[in-house]
């Protein structure tokens, strides 16, 4: 009997741990299937690295205008303005906008030039959650400037299902 139990118990233990991990695994798969993984600060950082190439952008020169509290995340007005003389020697090359918690960290990239006249771009974006929005401007001399804003969203984008 004792001998039998000693033989049985490891199998029972194995079975339970095996079943447990199987359920755990299923659970993990279900969670992934139900909600697409949100962009995390790490993916935001890696998306920003593609633009910054490891250089930390300095604050200033760029202004990100976005309402601090929005009702509908499906359409959030956003304006990015960069302070630059916009000459052949010193102009804004590009403006990049990122978000923290949408499924994808990129929002848009705008490529400007010395002929822009005023380095200002307005568009409407989607926000899946209350989060931080980051804008980075790249100048013709390679310098990087950034601004960030925290936005509270009451109705998130991308969550509704369609038939």
């Amino acid at each position: 009997m004792t001998k039998r139990a000693s033989i049985l118990s490891p199998t029972r233990r194995h079975f339970l741990t095996g079943a447990g991990s199987a359920i755990g695994g299923l659970g993990a798969i279900r969670i992934l299937a139900v909600s697409p993984a949100l962009a995390t600060p790490e993916t935001l950082a890696s998306a920003m690295r593609e633009v910054t190439k490891g250089v930390t952008p300095q604050p200033g020169k760029i202004k990100l205008e976005i309402p601090p509290l929005v009702e509908n995340g499906n359409s959030v007005p956003l304006t990015v303005t960069v302070d630059s003389p916009l000459t052949e020697a010193d102009h804004v090359k590009s403006i990049h906008v990122f978000n923290e918690k949408n499924p994808q960290p990129n929002v848009a990239s705008f490529h400007l030039g010395p002929r822009a006249g005023r380095a200002s771009v307005t568009t409407r974006i989607r926000l899946a959650d209350s989060q931080m929005v980051v804008a980075i401007a790249q100048m013709s001399d390679g310098s990087l400037w950034s601004d960030r804003a925290q936005v509270i969203v009451t109705i998130a984008a991308c969550v509704e299902e369609i038939n």
Binding site: S75, S109, T122, I125, C158
Partner: protein, 106 residues
């Protein structure tokens, strides 16, 4: 089906900074949504807007699913010479839309 609305001043003084507004009708399906039956809705977005002033590129925007439906983009340019300003949107599933506006520069 798809149509674009652009707003460019008809006349401008040489060197004047003009505002350009663009709006194009498009669902901008993110590719992150599922229908009630659980089927994945594939991505269908506009990926790029290019603006050319008499053939020279003056503005380009790379768009991602985080852009709201019916992409609305406003930007500025300097009125240098009379001519045409052309807009071209390209996107998933071979989406392509063009628009152009004439401008008189005094």
């Amino acid at each position: 089906m798809a149509n674009a609305i652009i707003k460019v001043p008809k006349t401008a003084r040489r060197g004047e900074v003009i505002e350009i507004k663009t709006l194009v009708s498009h669902i901008m399906e993110t590719g992150f949504r599922y229908s009630t039956t659980g089927t994945h809705i594939p991505r269908d977005i506009i990926t790029q807007l290019v603006c050319r002033y008499n053939g020279t590129e003056i503005f380009r925007a790379d768009l991602y699913p985080a852009i709201a439906a019916n992409p609305f983009i406003t930007f500025f340019t300097t009125a240098t010479e009379s001519g045409t300003i052309e807009f071209q949107w390209t996107g998933d599933n071979g989406f392509s839309e063009r628009a152009s506006a004439k401008i008189d520069v005094e």
